[in-house]
Amino acid sequence: MKTTKDQTWLVHMQTGRILEDINIGNYRMVFIKVTQQSSFIHYHYRLIAFPRGSSEPILSLNLESNPMARTLCLGAHLPEGHDNLGFVDENMSEGAFRTWAFDIAKKYLGLTQSPPSTPIGGIRISDDDDQLIGHMHTSTADSFHDIGSKLLELPAPGAVTDYARAHLLEATTPNVSNAWTYEVPALSRYAKNEGKRSLFGRDKGKMAFRKLAEDLYLVVLGLYGDKLLTQGASTDECLLALLHSLVSFKEAYPNWTDAYSVAYRLFVEERDIIKIILAKHQRSVEAKLY
């Protein structure tokens, strides 16, 4: 049986959030939200179809964007190659994509049975295609810690800027990458000044925090500008996108360890305060753009 030529589905299934994993007819259908990009095309949601008993997909329907082209498309990976099935508005919701994807999958695979009208949540942890034996629910709290913990990993001795990665980052997410070049030094300044007072008793840490909170606006703008966030995104989604982008930035510029460790504390452990700040910035950005 021919399978798709796409190589990215496995990483996406391993790292993304599996929203639904069901059997329809002779196929296992996995609906995922992609959380870690691994190619020049960015995927947001994917519906991947595996023939029963096969570990390789035969079809993948995707909401995908090309950061360089700044387009958002519906795409299909088929054994014959990739098809572009049209452009979509950037506000396409998870529900709208799910409905579209199951409809198209029915046509491609000749299915007669329909998916449940509402998604069945959870991740199936059975390798038996016929029976669901349990669900492992994921939560965003786990995601924050999983991603955030990468900020705490120390760089290898002698690690320097990875220019290839930095270049890739600038090409794929130019606005966010540019924003972090301001925000990471601001985080570092906060790490340096936290708990210190000036000669006249001013709280230097508080001032540095105020500055970094203000500068986060540029990061939020960048997330919208690079289409990593769309209108109506929740604050949790905003914080997750922010963490992902910071981890990518860290991979390119590994030596701001003080900034990354303080970022872990602020963005993961004490994230409630940052969420309030992000919500304010999101409101302001969306009011200007939509």
Partner: protein
């Protein structure tokens, strides 16, 4: 005028195209005067080649321009405050801050602002909810090519080796690659007029 161009070819077949097709004077004809057509390279399913196509002033394009302007303004603020931080009290008091980065940002802000104004102006005349057209044949069956990578923006710094464009050749499956062709052409362009629906008017 002298123009540089980029060759685009497919990794799996003989197909070649070039960016020079979108050079020229493309205008929408309006009763009150013509306005320039924003163009993008695209693949036309009818022509089966790379063609110039309309880039309509959609909400998305407008939003991108707005966000770019907002980002630039914030960056100018940040650059300004960074310069002030690094200056002594006296120099901050007596001289204006100068920085090449800041100047470049301000120039870019002017360009983006005028681009945004142009988008807003053209939205008054053009139905941006329709599909964009191929400016060669008028077909709406087109797919935009990704924008060229940043290193391809100028022939001076462009890599000698072809770079992947991030798009597959439709009906073939090979990938498009781009490379500067190293030749500057002297070309004289004549005006091509289109209706606001993107249909070419007879010369």
């Amino acid at each position: 005028m002298s123009v540089e161009s980029i060759n685009i070819f497919c990794t799996d077949c003989e197909f070649t195209g070039w960016s020079g097709v979108s050079d020229g004077i493309f205008m929408y004809e309006l009763p009150d005067g013509n306005i320039p057509i924003r163009r993008r390279l695209a693949w036309c399913h009818a022509c089966k080649k790379i063609i110039p196509s309309e880039e309509l002033p959609t909400d998305d394009l407008l939003r991108q321009a707005k966000i770019e302007l907002e980002i630039l303004r914030k960056q100018i603020d940040l650059e300004g405050s960074l310069i002030n931080q690094s200056r002594s009290f006296l120099s901050a008091l007596l001289s204006k801050p100068r920085s090449e980065a800041l100047d470049a940002l301000k120039l870019r802000e002017i360009a983006v602002k005028s681009d945004l104004d142009e988008i807003m102006k053209s939205r008054k005349f053009i139905d941006f909810s329709r599909k964009p057209r191929c400016l060669a044949c008028g077909s709406q069956e087109i797919i935009y090519l990704p924008r060229f990578p940043t290193e391809m923006q100028s022939a001076l710094n462009a890599p000698a080796a072809p770079v992947l464009l991030g798009m597959k050749h439709p009906n073939c499956g090979g990938e498009f690659k781009a490379v500067f062709n190293g030749i500057s052409f002297n070309r004289r362009f004549s005006e091509r007029l289109y209706s606001v629906d993107g249909i070419r008017k007879q010369p």
